[in-house]
Symmetry: D2
Subunit: 294 residues, 4 copies
Amino acid sequence: MTISGLFAPIPVPFNKDESLALDKLETNLKRWLSQPLDGVVLPGSNSEAPYLSDDERLAVWQVCGQVFRDSGKIWLAGTGVERTPDTIRLTLKAAECGAAGTLVVPPHYYKKDMTHEVLLAHYRSLADASPIPVMIYNIPAFTGIDFELKTLIALAEHPNIIGMKDSSSNVLKMGQLLQARPDFIVFAGTGGALLPFLSIGAAGCISALSNVAAVPLKEIMNAFAACDLEKARRIQISIMEINFAVTGGYGVPGLKYAMDQTGFYGGPPRRPLLPVGEAARKHLDRLIADLKLA
Amino acid sequence: MTISGLFAPIPVPFNKDESLALDKLETNLKRWLSQPLDGVVLPGSNSEAPYLSDDERLAVWQVCGQVFRDSGKIWLAGTGVERTPDTIRLTLKAAECGAAGTLVVPPHYYKKDMTHEVLLAHYRSLADASPIPVMIYNIPAFTGIDFELKTLIALAEHPNIIGMKDSSSNVLKMGQLLQARPDFIVFAGTGGALLPFLSIGAAGCISALSNVAAVPLKEIMNAFAACDLEKARRIQISIMEINFAVTGGYGVPGLKYAMDQTGFYGGPPRRPLLPVGEAARKHLDRLIADLKLA
Amino acid sequence: MTISGLFAPIPVPFNKDESLALDKLETNLKRWLSQPLDGVVLPGSNSEAPYLSDDERLAVWQVCGQVFRDSGKIWLAGTGVERTPDTIRLTLKAAECGAAGTLVVPPHYYKKDMTHEVLLAHYRSLADASPIPVMIYNIPAFTGIDFELKTLIALAEHPNIIGMKDSSSNVLKMGQLLQARPDFIVFAGTGGALLPFLSIGAAGCISALSNVAAVPLKEIMNAFAACDLEKARRIQISIMEINFAVTGGYGVPGLKYAMDQTGFYGGPPRRPLLPVGEAARKHLDRLIADLKLA
Amino acid sequence: MTISGLFAPIPVPFNKDESLALDKLETNLKRWLSQPLDGVVLPGSNSEAPYLSDDERLAVWQVCGQVFRDSGKIWLAGTGVERTPDTIRLTLKAAECGAAGTLVVPPHYYKKDMTHEVLLAHYRSLADASPIPVMIYNIPAFTGIDFELKTLIALAEHPNIIGMKDSSSNVLKMGQLLQARPDFIVFAGTGGALLPFLSIGAAGCISALSNVAAVPLKEIMNAFAACDLEKARRIQISIMEINFAVTGGYGVPGLKYAMDQTGFYGGPPRRPLLPVGEAARKHLDRLIADLKLA
């Protein structure tokens, strides 16, 4: 199976008291199944992964596994935590629940100590033990770790490390990686970088925006596949502002608010994250209205 | 009770299979009690705190609480985790176990979202709920978050937020903070900054080096208190290289190796951290020998 | 006149004693005229601009003006220096010499003081005074200044500020800029970002690599224009390593060495820059050989 | 001759039309001679050095040389520019004008290329050629270059490289440097770091604040020398906010405004720098009033 296309890194819904809302998760997942998505990822940064206990992580996977069974679509787990054995343990659980692969954020507290050698050992131990394919998740804005090209090239040699998501939108590094490892699967980490990444051979994107606006992102992919570059460019440019707003701009709280406005259950973030304020809500309202008109 | 003096942010000992070695912890703690320390902190960055489960955190506190009871010395807990309610919950547990205060690293995964407002809300919620005094732990090298002066000044207004540890060794920011809040308790975050911090009114230091070399650090404090500036300077300068080696230089694995060479149980780090290599061991051997001669 | 296509930001040749080699410049320029370039830029970062006196800057423009007269191609000047009046003065000189536009690096010594307001005032003063169109040169790796989106949008309102070169290869920011100002002229700042930038509507690139390998870069542009995306992608990926080597990798000394191997006069850099060492030369030899075979 | 004590890195005065005001410079210099300063530095960052032509640099040195002759005080030149030969040439001129030493900012445009080897070669060439002692000026906030410890230790071996100014206020690095090279002369780069730097053996400070408030800074040095640590600390803490305001806070325009309020000629900065606004003026007015009361 090849992992490619458009994926939503879904938010995890919480009730007003911040408790896990598995019923809302199920409803949302069914709605996402009806969107032009190739799958979902959970939990990732947009899922408040660092705010979930291990039990909660398992619970959301079980719900996802049930909803996606026989759907023809796939889901990827987020299993990266600080310790190597914990990352392996969670990956085995995710595989049991039906994950098609895992997207693994690096350990990152001891940033300076996460050397080339340490990262190789960590990911290789995982890839050796994992029954499902491993993908690297590079998101320096959150981890403070930006994978070096040589580390990526070395990791790509492992038969069970098949690709990565680059949330740093580094077209230069990804281009060099694809020159060295043409078969490595590269995902854009944000909808704003989709077309540039496709142009150099990326397999798709895993982007916050696809939670609420899968249609235009899929249209970009389709137009690109059909060599309709002008259409692809036009749509790509039209979503830049909203794409920024629901990720870099207003973070998970912004994305959850946007979900509430587009037929999903968004709900509150967990503290310390706070809901978006008045100005952000107005800005998002305008952007969502523009999107619906388009 | 005032919290001041020399504190060791102790490593947590693991067996060869990476399991928690509570017996070794107890032995080490008793040895630290005999050193010229005013107390210990656990778990902090030197304790591989991000690699401990909640149960393990509780277990080390229980051991520490028993060993320190009636010792005349105090211990501070590290209770900062990603979620606000979890941080509060852990703080209540630490207080039950006998912690004299808590040193709280900020939530840091969503770095960009950890705004002035979010940090205020997080720490104030904690300080309101905590039965023990709260101290802020600023360590941008690991968290990617460097507290703004205005945030520190605002937090210092809370009666239960009494001080901080600044592992960024920022004498300018600490000086400004102490101008605005003369009674705030400031700790140097590394032994290399002890004398500069004392000179502007710091209460002491919480430093990796004090795990293995409390004597010279205490001598600096004593010489400073006695206005023997030349002696204080001479000792301070003499420990700069070893101080760097056991923290910034070789990280927790370096500190654990140094413990093994100085009568404590160091043992292995947990993966992904790897034990120090041959060159680092030789360097540390030489620095420790020099220290013993001095 | 529209400014678009493929531009070489040319190195300035020096004799062995580091004196300006205007004869070599003339020879090189004539050779570049025969390449599939739309023009050249001088002096930019690849020209050791910060190492040229004002008189030398004028001398190279005069040579360039003569060589390019009636050539059907254009050249852009680099006129950005630290002071606003000096930048204006140099721009007037460049225009006299025949420059079709100017690419202007921001003042950058007082980084913190180069606020939105200061940058607006600087560029607007220049654009008001300049008889030729002004383009912004964003190169944070050298200046430590990364233009904010809002600053770019505000500057783009000025009728004489027509475009920019983004050497940070930030497809997200450029996409947002093009959504806000669809007619702004955006150039990729390195050959490795050419195709991703074209995909979102860029006008071309100004890249070190085009000094020595204009052919493949022009082929990428042609294939893209002809909607032959597979060919464009294949060539783009094939040049990633050499593109990195002659810019980020080995800097101006690496580029000058590559010129010496490809029929141009490269010559030595000015000190403090030092010629590339043995390992770099071997690496570049291999990359150049591969390129010639392709 | 030993270089130590309190130095003012003086602003260069300009007339309203931004032309050099040598008469104002002379008046200011005479006033500084009456302050408890050991000397001045010009041009440095506070002198808008990057905004001076070579001729202007020479002109200010000539005035300074005349005013300081037979004054019993010394002045240090700032001679660091981008090219190695230019830096040497300017240093020879400064020596002719009577400079007691030179404080040399590193070349910094090609940040990535300013490797350990390149910096060694640059400073050693200069130190070999210079008739006056060379001091290193480390100011990463402006240059983007932060000298590595190993580079400083290697440069300190040269008999004509006698010291440095560290505007990064890095007490850890300076402590390590002084452990390795106890005779190296270290200056704090800001008044806010004076006492912490003195505590580890620094020779004094070269600080913006000493232009307008030499008295309290000298009192700190005197109290420290007399082992009156409580007085030293009290004064040090009392100047933290104004110290920040006239440097990091409001930059050269803030310092020039403060000079205008304290009996010197400050005058306008050169563009692109803009005079400070209303809020900054009010803030500075308050801080200056507090200082006079103290």
